[in-house]
Symmetry: C2
Subunit: 268 residues, 2 copies
Protein backbone atom coordinates (compact mmCIF):
# COMPACT_ATOMS: atom_id res chain seq x y z
CA UNK A 1 0.00 0.00 0.00
CA UNK A 2 1.12 3.52 -0.73
CA UNK A 3 0.16 5.26 2.48
CA UNK A 4 0.83 4.41 6.10
CA UNK A 5 -2.76 5.25 7.05
CA UNK A 6 -4.24 2.70 4.65
CA UNK A 7 -2.06 -0.08 6.04
CA UNK A 8 -2.93 0.96 9.60
CA UNK A 9 -6.68 0.74 9.01
CA UNK A 10 -6.45 -2.40 6.85
CA UNK A 11 -8.87 -5.23 7.61
CA UNK A 12 -8.90 -8.82 6.45
CA UNK A 13 -11.99 -10.98 6.17
CA UNK A 14 -11.85 -14.14 8.28
CA UNK A 15 -13.48 -17.48 7.54
CA UNK A 16 -16.27 -16.76 10.04
CA UNK A 17 -17.23 -13.53 8.26
CA UNK A 18 -15.67 -11.21 10.81
CA UNK A 19 -12.73 -8.93 10.06
CA UNK A 20 -9.25 -8.98 11.57
CA UNK A 21 -7.28 -5.77 12.13
CA UNK A 22 -3.92 -4.90 13.66
CA UNK A 23 -4.31 -1.81 15.83
CA UNK A 24 -1.22 0.29 15.32
CA UNK A 25 0.98 1.47 18.21
CA UNK A 26 1.39 4.63 16.19
CA UNK A 27 -2.11 5.70 17.22
CA UNK A 28 -1.64 5.46 20.98
CA UNK A 29 -2.56 8.49 23.07
CA UNK A 30 -2.25 8.29 26.85
CA UNK A 31 -3.65 4.99 28.09
CA UNK A 32 -5.30 3.80 24.90
CA UNK A 33 -5.61 3.85 21.14
CA UNK A 34 -7.21 6.93 19.60
CA UNK A 35 -10.96 6.58 19.24
CA UNK A 36 -11.12 8.27 15.84
CA UNK A 37 -8.57 5.86 14.42
CA UNK A 38 -10.61 2.94 15.79
CA UNK A 39 -13.69 4.39 14.15
CA UNK A 40 -11.89 4.46 10.80
CA UNK A 41 -10.91 0.79 11.24
CA UNK A 42 -14.54 -0.08 12.00
CA UNK A 43 -15.60 2.10 9.09
CA UNK A 44 -13.37 0.10 6.78
CA UNK A 45 -14.93 -3.18 7.93
CA UNK A 46 -18.42 -1.74 7.43
CA UNK A 47 -17.49 -0.59 3.91
CA UNK A 48 -16.29 -4.12 3.09
CA UNK A 49 -19.59 -5.55 4.33
CA UNK A 50 -21.89 -3.25 2.37
CA UNK A 51 -21.28 -3.59 -1.39
CA UNK A 52 -22.55 -0.63 -3.39
CA UNK A 53 -22.67 1.58 -0.30
CA UNK A 54 -19.06 2.69 0.07
CA UNK A 55 -19.53 5.77 2.24
CA UNK A 56 -20.31 6.24 5.91
CA UNK A 57 -23.21 8.70 6.19
CA UNK A 58 -23.92 8.35 9.91
CA UNK A 59 -21.86 6.38 12.43
CA UNK A 60 -22.53 6.17 16.18
CA UNK A 61 -19.89 4.58 18.38
CA UNK A 62 -20.15 3.74 22.07
CA UNK A 63 -16.75 3.31 23.69
CA UNK A 64 -16.78 0.50 26.23
CA UNK A 65 -13.12 0.04 27.20
CA UNK A 66 -9.70 1.33 26.16
CA UNK A 67 -8.10 -0.49 23.24
CA UNK A 68 -4.45 -1.56 23.11
CA UNK A 69 -2.17 -1.91 20.08
CA UNK A 70 -2.34 -5.38 18.57
CA UNK A 71 -4.92 -7.68 17.03
CA UNK A 72 -8.62 -6.85 17.06
CA UNK A 73 -11.72 -8.39 15.53
CA UNK A 74 -14.62 -6.50 13.99
CA UNK A 75 -17.95 -8.25 13.54
CA UNK A 76 -20.65 -6.69 11.39
CA UNK A 77 -24.37 -7.47 11.36
CA UNK A 78 -26.50 -5.91 8.63
CA UNK A 79 -29.80 -4.57 9.99
CA UNK A 80 -31.32 -3.26 6.77
CA UNK A 81 -30.04 -3.14 3.20
CA UNK A 82 -32.21 -0.80 1.14
CA UNK A 83 -32.03 0.67 -2.34
CA UNK A 84 -29.77 3.60 -1.46
CA UNK A 85 -28.87 3.16 2.22
CA UNK A 86 -27.84 0.27 4.43
CA UNK A 87 -27.68 0.14 8.22
CA UNK A 88 -25.43 -2.22 10.16
CA UNK A 89 -24.14 -2.88 13.65
CA UNK A 90 -20.43 -3.38 14.28
CA UNK A 91 -18.48 -4.51 17.32
CA UNK A 92 -14.74 -4.20 17.82
CA UNK A 93 -13.25 -6.68 20.27
CA UNK A 94 -9.83 -7.64 21.54
CA UNK A 95 -9.87 -11.18 22.90
CA UNK A 96 -12.94 -11.36 25.12
CA UNK A 97 -13.07 -7.63 25.70
CA UNK A 98 -15.53 -5.47 23.84
CA UNK A 99 -13.96 -2.11 22.98
CA UNK A 100 -16.57 -0.37 20.85
CA UNK A 101 -20.11 -1.12 19.80
CA UNK A 102 -21.41 0.91 16.88
CA UNK A 103 -24.26 1.47 14.46
CA UNK A 104 -23.88 2.97 11.02
CA UNK A 105 -25.76 3.91 7.90
CA UNK A 106 -23.83 3.74 4.64
CA UNK A 107 -24.64 4.91 1.14
CA UNK A 108 -23.03 6.48 -1.89
CA UNK A 109 -22.20 10.14 -1.30
CA UNK A 110 -21.49 10.51 -5.00
CA UNK A 111 -25.15 9.86 -5.77
CA UNK A 112 -26.64 12.49 -3.49
CA UNK A 113 -27.99 15.71 -4.96
CA UNK A 114 -25.81 18.73 -5.64
CA UNK A 115 -27.85 21.24 -3.68
CA UNK A 116 -25.95 22.86 -0.81
CA UNK A 117 -27.65 25.37 1.49
CA UNK A 118 -25.14 25.57 4.32
CA UNK A 119 -25.63 28.49 6.69
CA UNK A 120 -22.81 27.36 8.96
CA UNK A 121 -19.78 29.56 8.45
CA UNK A 122 -16.39 28.21 7.48
CA UNK A 123 -13.86 28.97 10.23
CA UNK A 124 -11.68 31.95 9.42
CA UNK A 125 -8.03 30.98 9.96
CA UNK A 126 -4.66 32.43 9.08
CA UNK A 127 -2.83 30.43 6.39
CA UNK A 128 -1.19 27.20 7.63
CA UNK A 129 2.27 28.80 7.65
CA UNK A 130 1.06 31.44 10.10
CA UNK A 131 -0.46 28.88 12.47
CA UNK A 132 1.18 26.87 15.27
CA UNK A 133 2.36 23.40 14.16
CA UNK A 134 1.86 20.35 16.35
CA UNK A 135 5.57 19.63 15.94
CA UNK A 136 6.15 22.39 18.51
CA UNK A 137 4.64 20.20 21.24
CA UNK A 138 7.14 19.42 24.03
CA UNK A 139 8.91 16.02 23.86
CA UNK A 140 7.17 14.78 27.01
CA UNK A 141 3.78 15.36 25.35
CA UNK A 142 4.80 13.63 22.15
CA UNK A 143 6.16 10.69 24.16
CA UNK A 144 2.70 9.87 25.55
CA UNK A 145 0.92 10.77 22.31
CA UNK A 146 2.65 8.97 19.43
CA UNK A 147 -0.44 9.66 17.32
CA UNK A 148 0.75 13.25 16.96
CA UNK A 149 3.44 11.97 14.62
CA UNK A 150 0.68 10.96 12.18
CA UNK A 151 -0.57 14.52 11.83
CA UNK A 152 0.40 17.78 10.28
CA UNK A 153 -1.74 20.13 12.36
CA UNK A 154 -1.54 23.90 12.39
CA UNK A 155 -3.42 25.40 15.30
CA UNK A 156 -5.19 28.71 15.11
CA UNK A 157 -2.89 31.04 17.08
CA UNK A 158 -5.86 32.34 19.07
CA UNK A 159 -6.83 28.80 20.11
CA UNK A 160 -3.46 27.59 21.35
CA UNK A 161 -3.08 29.57 24.58
CA UNK A 162 -3.54 26.35 26.55
CA UNK A 163 -0.16 25.16 25.25
CA UNK A 164 1.51 27.95 27.20
CA UNK A 165 -0.77 27.87 30.25
CA UNK A 166 -3.18 30.50 28.99
CA UNK A 167 -6.37 28.75 27.88
CA UNK A 168 -8.98 31.14 26.50
CA UNK A 169 -11.83 29.62 28.49
CA UNK A 170 -14.06 29.82 25.42
CA UNK A 171 -14.15 26.09 24.72
CA UNK A 172 -13.05 26.37 21.11
CA UNK A 173 -10.14 24.77 19.22
CA UNK A 174 -9.40 24.89 15.52
CA UNK A 175 -6.61 23.72 13.29
CA UNK A 176 -5.60 22.95 9.75
CA UNK A 177 -5.22 19.20 9.40
CA UNK A 178 -3.64 16.67 7.06
CA UNK A 179 -1.98 13.29 7.41
CA UNK A 180 1.83 13.43 7.25
CA UNK A 181 1.93 10.41 4.94
CA UNK A 182 0.31 12.48 2.20
CA UNK A 183 -2.87 10.44 2.05
CA UNK A 184 -5.74 12.62 0.92
CA UNK A 185 -8.92 12.71 3.00
CA UNK A 186 -11.88 10.49 2.17
CA UNK A 187 -15.10 9.62 4.02
CA UNK A 188 -13.35 6.85 6.00
CA UNK A 189 -10.49 9.07 7.14
CA UNK A 190 -12.99 11.75 8.20
CA UNK A 191 -14.16 9.30 10.89
CA UNK A 192 -10.66 9.65 12.33
CA UNK A 193 -10.39 13.40 11.75
CA UNK A 194 -13.41 14.19 13.94
CA UNK A 195 -11.54 12.85 16.97
CA UNK A 196 -7.96 13.84 16.10
CA UNK A 197 -7.54 17.24 17.75
CA UNK A 198 -6.84 17.53 21.48
CA UNK A 199 -10.01 17.60 23.61
CA UNK A 200 -11.70 21.00 23.55
CA UNK A 201 -11.39 20.97 27.34
CA UNK A 202 -7.73 21.99 26.86
CA UNK A 203 -9.13 25.41 26.00
CA UNK A 204 -11.06 25.41 29.29
CA UNK A 205 -7.89 24.93 31.32
CA UNK A 206 -8.39 21.21 31.77
CA UNK A 207 -5.49 19.36 30.23
CA UNK A 208 -5.67 15.60 30.33
CA UNK A 209 -7.45 12.73 28.73
CA UNK A 210 -11.19 13.11 28.14
CA UNK A 211 -12.57 9.61 27.54
CA UNK A 212 -15.27 9.50 24.88
CA UNK A 213 -18.50 7.82 25.95
CA UNK A 214 -20.32 8.22 22.63
CA UNK A 215 -19.46 9.79 19.29
CA UNK A 216 -21.74 10.22 16.29
CA UNK A 217 -20.33 11.44 12.99
CA UNK A 218 -22.25 12.52 9.90
CA UNK A 219 -20.23 12.52 6.69
CA UNK A 220 -21.98 14.98 4.41
CA UNK A 221 -19.79 14.97 1.31
CA UNK A 222 -16.64 13.41 -0.09
CA UNK A 223 -13.84 15.79 0.84
CA UNK A 224 -11.69 17.45 -1.83
CA UNK A 225 -7.93 16.82 -1.67
CA UNK A 226 -5.80 19.17 0.40
CA UNK A 227 -5.88 20.72 3.83
CA UNK A 228 -8.91 20.29 6.06
CA UNK A 229 -10.08 22.83 8.59
CA UNK A 230 -11.23 21.21 11.84
CA UNK A 231 -13.11 23.04 14.57
CA UNK A 232 -14.06 21.73 18.03
CA UNK A 233 -16.42 23.50 20.39
CA UNK A 234 -18.28 22.75 23.60
CA UNK A 235 -21.20 24.64 25.12
CA UNK A 236 -22.37 22.45 27.96
CA UNK A 237 -19.93 21.15 30.54
CA UNK A 238 -21.97 19.82 33.45
CA UNK A 239 -22.06 16.90 35.84
CA UNK A 240 -18.55 15.80 34.90
CA UNK A 241 -19.38 15.44 31.21
CA UNK A 242 -19.25 17.66 28.16
CA UNK A 243 -20.35 17.55 24.57
CA UNK A 244 -17.76 18.23 21.87
CA UNK A 245 -19.01 19.31 18.46
CA UNK A 246 -16.66 18.96 15.54
CA UNK A 247 -16.92 20.40 12.06
CA UNK A 248 -14.61 19.45 9.20
CA UNK A 249 -14.37 21.71 6.17
CA UNK A 250 -12.52 20.73 3.00
CA UNK A 251 -10.22 22.80 0.81
CA UNK A 252 -13.13 23.98 -1.34
CA UNK A 253 -14.89 25.43 1.71
CA UNK A 254 -17.51 22.70 2.00
CA UNK A 255 -18.70 21.37 5.36
CA UNK A 256 -17.92 17.68 4.82
CA UNK A 257 -18.41 16.22 8.31
CA UNK A 258 -20.19 17.10 11.53
CA UNK A 259 -19.83 15.13 14.72
CA UNK A 260 -20.80 15.35 18.35
CA UNK A 261 -19.35 13.34 21.17
CA UNK A 262 -20.21 13.04 24.85
CA UNK A 263 -17.06 12.71 26.93
CA UNK A 264 -16.01 12.66 30.54
CA UNK A 265 -14.38 15.77 31.88
CA UNK A 266 -10.65 15.26 32.52
CA UNK A 267 -9.74 14.63 36.16
CA UNK A 268 -7.47 17.19 37.75
CA UNK B 1 -51.72 4.95 35.65
CA UNK B 2 -52.26 8.62 36.25
CA UNK B 3 -51.01 10.03 32.97
CA UNK B 4 -51.83 9.12 29.41
CA UNK B 5 -48.16 9.35 28.42
CA UNK B 6 -47.11 6.71 30.94
CA UNK B 7 -49.69 4.25 29.68
CA UNK B 8 -48.67 4.96 26.07
CA UNK B 9 -45.00 4.19 26.68
CA UNK B 10 -45.72 1.22 28.99
CA UNK B 11 -43.78 -1.97 28.35
CA UNK B 12 -44.31 -5.48 29.67
CA UNK B 13 -41.62 -8.08 30.07
CA UNK B 14 -42.24 -11.28 28.11
CA UNK B 15 -41.14 -14.79 29.00
CA UNK B 16 -38.30 -14.64 26.46
CA UNK B 17 -36.83 -11.53 28.09
CA UNK B 18 -38.02 -9.09 25.45
CA UNK B 19 -40.57 -6.34 26.08
CA UNK B 20 -44.01 -5.92 24.57
CA UNK B 21 -45.45 -2.47 23.85
CA UNK B 22 -48.63 -1.14 22.27
CA UNK B 23 -47.77 1.74 19.98
CA UNK B 24 -50.49 4.33 20.37
CA UNK B 25 -52.48 5.69 17.43
CA UNK B 26 -52.38 8.98 19.32
CA UNK B 27 -48.76 9.44 18.23
CA UNK B 28 -49.28 9.12 14.50
CA UNK B 29 -47.90 11.85 12.27
CA UNK B 30 -48.24 11.55 8.52
CA UNK B 31 -47.42 8.01 7.43
CA UNK B 32 -45.93 6.71 10.66
CA UNK B 33 -45.63 6.88 14.42
CA UNK B 34 -43.54 9.74 15.82
CA UNK B 35 -39.89 8.81 16.22
CA UNK B 36 -39.47 10.60 19.54
CA UNK B 37 -42.36 8.70 21.06
CA UNK B 38 -40.82 5.43 19.82
CA UNK B 39 -37.54 6.45 21.41
CA UNK B 40 -39.29 6.95 24.75
CA UNK B 41 -40.84 3.47 24.46
CA UNK B 42 -37.39 2.00 23.76
CA UNK B 43 -35.99 4.12 26.59
CA UNK B 44 -38.50 2.60 28.96
CA UNK B 45 -37.47 -0.94 27.97
CA UNK B 46 -33.81 -0.05 28.43
CA UNK B 47 -34.53 1.38 31.87
CA UNK B 48 -36.26 -1.86 32.85
CA UNK B 49 -33.23 -3.85 31.68
CA UNK B 50 -30.60 -1.88 33.56
CA UNK B 51 -31.24 -1.94 37.32
CA UNK B 52 -29.53 0.87 39.21
CA UNK B 53 -29.07 2.90 36.01
CA UNK B 54 -32.46 4.55 35.59
CA UNK B 55 -31.52 7.42 33.28
CA UNK B 56 -30.68 7.59 29.59
CA UNK B 57 -27.44 9.55 29.19
CA UNK B 58 -26.79 8.93 25.49
CA UNK B 59 -29.16 7.21 23.07
CA UNK B 60 -28.54 6.72 19.33
CA UNK B 61 -31.41 5.47 17.19
CA UNK B 62 -31.28 4.43 13.54
CA UNK B 63 -34.72 4.48 11.93
CA UNK B 64 -35.15 1.57 9.52
CA UNK B 65 -38.83 1.66 8.56
CA UNK B 66 -42.00 3.53 9.53
CA UNK B 67 -43.86 2.11 12.53
CA UNK B 68 -47.64 1.64 12.69
CA UNK B 69 -49.93 1.79 15.72
CA UNK B 70 -50.30 -1.60 17.39
CA UNK B 71 -48.10 -4.21 19.03
CA UNK B 72 -44.32 -3.96 19.00
CA UNK B 73 -41.50 -5.91 20.59
CA UNK B 74 -38.33 -4.43 22.06
CA UNK B 75 -35.33 -6.68 22.60
CA UNK B 76 -32.40 -5.45 24.70
CA UNK B 77 -28.85 -6.81 24.77
CA UNK B 78 -26.50 -5.48 27.43
CA UNK B 79 -23.05 -4.74 26.01
CA UNK B 80 -21.32 -3.55 29.17
CA UNK B 81 -22.53 -3.06 32.74
CA UNK B 82 -20.02 -0.99 34.68
CA UNK B 83 -19.93 0.63 38.09
CA UNK B 84 -21.73 3.81 37.09
CA UNK B 85 -22.69 3.37 33.44
CA UNK B 86 -24.18 0.58 31.34
CA UNK B 87 -24.38 0.32 27.56
CA UNK B 88 -26.97 -1.76 25.74
CA UNK B 89 -28.36 -2.34 22.26
CA UNK B 90 -32.11 -2.28 21.65
CA UNK B 91 -34.22 -3.22 18.65
CA UNK B 92 -37.87 -2.35 18.12
CA UNK B 93 -39.74 -4.68 15.78
CA UNK B 94 -43.27 -5.13 14.55
CA UNK B 95 -43.77 -8.68 13.35
CA UNK B 96 -40.80 -9.47 11.16
CA UNK B 97 -40.08 -5.83 10.40
CA UNK B 98 -37.32 -4.00 12.18
CA UNK B 99 -38.33 -0.40 12.87
CA UNK B 100 -35.48 1.00 14.94
CA UNK B 101 -32.08 -0.24 16.03
CA UNK B 102 -30.47 1.67 18.86
CA UNK B 103 -27.56 1.88 21.26
CA UNK B 104 -27.70 3.58 24.63
CA UNK B 105 -25.68 4.35 27.71
CA UNK B 106 -27.60 4.62 30.98
CA UNK B 107 -26.60 5.81 34.41
CA UNK B 108 -27.93 7.75 37.38
CA UNK B 109 -28.17 11.45 36.62
CA UNK B 110 -28.80 12.10 40.30
CA UNK B 111 -25.29 10.91 41.11
CA UNK B 112 -23.41 13.19 38.74
CA UNK B 113 -21.57 16.21 40.05
CA UNK B 114 -23.25 19.58 40.60
CA UNK B 115 -20.85 21.65 38.54
CA UNK B 116 -22.47 23.41 35.58
CA UNK B 117 -20.40 25.50 33.17
CA UNK B 118 -22.86 25.97 30.33
CA UNK B 119 -21.91 28.66 27.83
CA UNK B 120 -24.90 27.87 25.59
CA UNK B 121 -27.54 30.55 26.00
CA UNK B 122 -31.09 29.81 27.02
CA UNK B 123 -33.49 30.84 24.22
CA UNK B 124 -35.16 34.16 24.88
CA UNK B 125 -38.90 33.76 24.38
CA UNK B 126 -42.01 35.77 25.18
CA UNK B 127 -44.12 34.20 27.95
CA UNK B 128 -46.26 31.23 26.86
CA UNK B 129 -49.41 33.35 26.77
CA UNK B 130 -47.81 35.63 24.20
CA UNK B 131 -46.72 32.77 21.94
CA UNK B 132 -48.68 30.91 19.25
CA UNK B 133 -50.38 27.74 20.50
CA UNK B 134 -50.36 24.54 18.45
CA UNK B 135 -54.16 24.44 18.85
CA UNK B 136 -54.29 27.14 16.18
CA UNK B 137 -53.15 24.63 13.55
CA UNK B 138 -55.75 24.13 10.80
CA UNK B 139 -58.01 21.07 11.11
CA UNK B 140 -56.49 19.41 8.02
CA UNK B 141 -53.07 19.53 9.66
CA UNK B 142 -54.36 18.15 12.94
CA UNK B 143 -56.15 15.37 11.06
CA UNK B 144 -52.88 13.94 9.72
CA UNK B 145 -50.97 14.69 12.92
CA UNK B 146 -52.96 13.32 15.87
CA UNK B 147 -49.79 13.60 17.97
CA UNK B 148 -50.39 17.35 18.16
CA UNK B 149 -53.25 16.62 20.55
CA UNK B 150 -50.69 15.29 23.04
CA UNK B 151 -48.89 18.63 23.24
CA UNK B 152 -49.32 22.07 24.64
CA UNK B 153 -46.85 23.95 22.46
CA UNK B 154 -46.45 27.70 22.26
CA UNK B 155 -44.36 28.75 19.29
CA UNK B 156 -42.11 31.74 19.34
CA UNK B 157 -44.01 34.32 17.24
CA UNK B 158 -40.87 35.03 15.21
CA UNK B 159 -40.47 31.34 14.34
CA UNK B 160 -43.99 30.63 13.15
CA UNK B 161 -44.07 32.48 9.84
CA UNK B 162 -44.12 29.15 8.01
CA UNK B 163 -47.64 28.57 9.36
CA UNK B 164 -48.85 31.51 7.28
CA UNK B 165 -46.63 30.91 4.25
CA UNK B 166 -43.82 33.20 5.40
CA UNK B 167 -40.95 31.02 6.58
CA UNK B 168 -37.99 33.03 7.86
CA UNK B 169 -35.43 30.99 5.96
CA UNK B 170 -33.18 30.97 9.03
CA UNK B 171 -33.68 27.31 9.89
CA UNK B 172 -34.72 27.92 13.49
CA UNK B 173 -37.82 26.90 15.43
CA UNK B 174 -38.55 27.29 19.11
CA UNK B 175 -41.47 26.67 21.39
CA UNK B 176 -42.58 26.24 24.95
CA UNK B 177 -43.54 22.61 25.49
CA UNK B 178 -45.50 20.48 27.90
CA UNK B 179 -47.67 17.39 27.71
CA UNK B 180 -51.41 18.12 27.86
CA UNK B 181 -51.96 15.26 30.30
CA UNK B 182 -50.03 17.17 32.96
CA UNK B 183 -47.22 14.66 33.20
CA UNK B 184 -44.05 16.41 34.24
CA UNK B 185 -40.89 15.92 32.16
CA UNK B 186 -38.32 13.29 33.11
CA UNK B 187 -35.29 11.84 31.31
CA UNK B 188 -37.47 9.29 29.44
CA UNK B 189 -39.94 11.88 28.19
CA UNK B 190 -37.06 14.08 27.02
CA UNK B 191 -36.29 11.37 24.45
CA UNK B 192 -39.70 12.21 22.98
CA UNK B 193 -39.38 15.97 23.39
CA UNK B 194 -36.27 16.17 21.19
CA UNK B 195 -38.34 15.01 18.21
CA UNK B 196 -41.72 16.60 19.02
CA UNK B 197 -41.61 19.94 17.21
CA UNK B 198 -42.25 20.18 13.47
CA UNK B 199 -39.12 19.65 11.36
CA UNK B 200 -36.93 22.73 11.28
CA UNK B 201 -37.24 22.58 7.48
CA UNK B 202 -40.69 24.18 7.89
CA UNK B 203 -38.77 27.38 8.61
CA UNK B 204 -36.86 26.92 5.34
CA UNK B 205 -40.07 26.86 3.33
CA UNK B 206 -40.17 23.08 3.03
CA UNK B 207 -43.33 21.78 4.66
CA UNK B 208 -43.74 18.04 4.71
CA UNK B 209 -42.43 14.99 6.45
CA UNK B 210 -38.68 14.83 7.02
CA UNK B 211 -37.87 11.19 7.79
CA UNK B 212 -35.22 10.76 10.46
CA UNK B 213 -32.30 8.54 9.49
CA UNK B 214 -30.43 8.80 12.78
CA UNK B 215 -31.01 10.63 16.05
CA UNK B 216 -28.68 10.82 19.04
CA UNK B 217 -29.88 12.40 22.27
CA UNK B 218 -27.79 13.30 25.31
CA UNK B 219 -29.78 13.76 28.51
CA UNK B 220 -27.65 16.00 30.69
CA UNK B 221 -29.80 16.49 33.78
CA UNK B 222 -33.16 15.51 35.25
CA UNK B 223 -35.55 18.27 34.21
CA UNK B 224 -37.39 20.35 36.78
CA UNK B 225 -41.21 20.32 36.65
CA UNK B 226 -42.94 22.88 34.45
CA UNK B 227 -42.63 24.26 30.96
CA UNK B 228 -39.72 23.25 28.77
CA UNK B 229 -38.17 25.46 26.13
CA UNK B 230 -37.30 23.54 22.96
CA UNK B 231 -35.17 24.92 20.16
CA UNK B 232 -34.44 23.33 16.77
CA UNK B 233 -31.84 24.59 14.34
CA UNK B 234 -30.14 23.41 11.17
CA UNK B 235 -26.97 24.74 9.58
CA UNK B 236 -26.16 22.27 6.84
CA UNK B 237 -28.79 21.27 4.30
CA UNK B 238 -27.01 19.51 1.48
CA UNK B 239 -27.36 16.51 -0.78
CA UNK B 240 -31.00 16.01 0.19
CA UNK B 241 -30.24 15.70 3.89
CA UNK B 242 -30.02 18.04 6.84
CA UNK B 243 -28.93 17.90 10.44
CA UNK B 244 -31.36 19.11 13.09
CA UNK B 245 -29.95 20.11 16.45
CA UNK B 246 -32.32 20.29 19.39
CA UNK B 247 -31.82 21.82 22.80
CA UNK B 248 -34.24 21.38 25.69
CA UNK B 249 -34.10 23.79 28.62
CA UNK B 250 -36.07 23.23 31.81
CA UNK B 251 -38.02 25.75 33.90
CA UNK B 252 -34.94 26.54 36.01
CA UNK B 253 -33.00 27.56 32.89
CA UNK B 254 -30.85 24.44 32.75
CA UNK B 255 -29.89 22.80 29.45
CA UNK B 256 -31.23 19.30 30.16
CA UNK B 257 -31.00 17.64 26.73
CA UNK B 258 -29.12 18.07 23.49
CA UNK B 259 -29.79 16.06 20.38
CA UNK B 260 -28.81 15.96 16.76
CA UNK B 261 -30.56 14.07 14.01
CA UNK B 262 -29.77 13.47 10.36
CA UNK B 263 -32.95 13.56 8.28
CA UNK B 264 -34.00 13.51 4.67
CA UNK B 265 -35.12 16.78 3.20
CA UNK B 266 -38.88 16.84 2.58
CA UNK B 267 -39.88 16.24 -1.01
CA UNK B 268 -41.49 19.43 -2.21
Amino acid sequence: MDHEFDSQIAIERSADGSYAAQLSAGWVVGGGVNGGYLLAVIGNALRASLPGKPDPIAVSAYYLSAAAPGPATISVGVRRDGASLATAAADLRQGDDSRITALATYGDLGRLGDDVRTTAEEPVMPPPDECVPNTMAPPEVRAIAPLMDRFDMRFHPEHIGWAVGQPSGNGVLSAWFRLVDGREPDPISLLMVVDALPPVTFDLGMPGWAPTLELTAHVRARPAPGWLKVRHATRNMAGGMFEEDCEVWDSTGRLVAQSRQLARQPRG
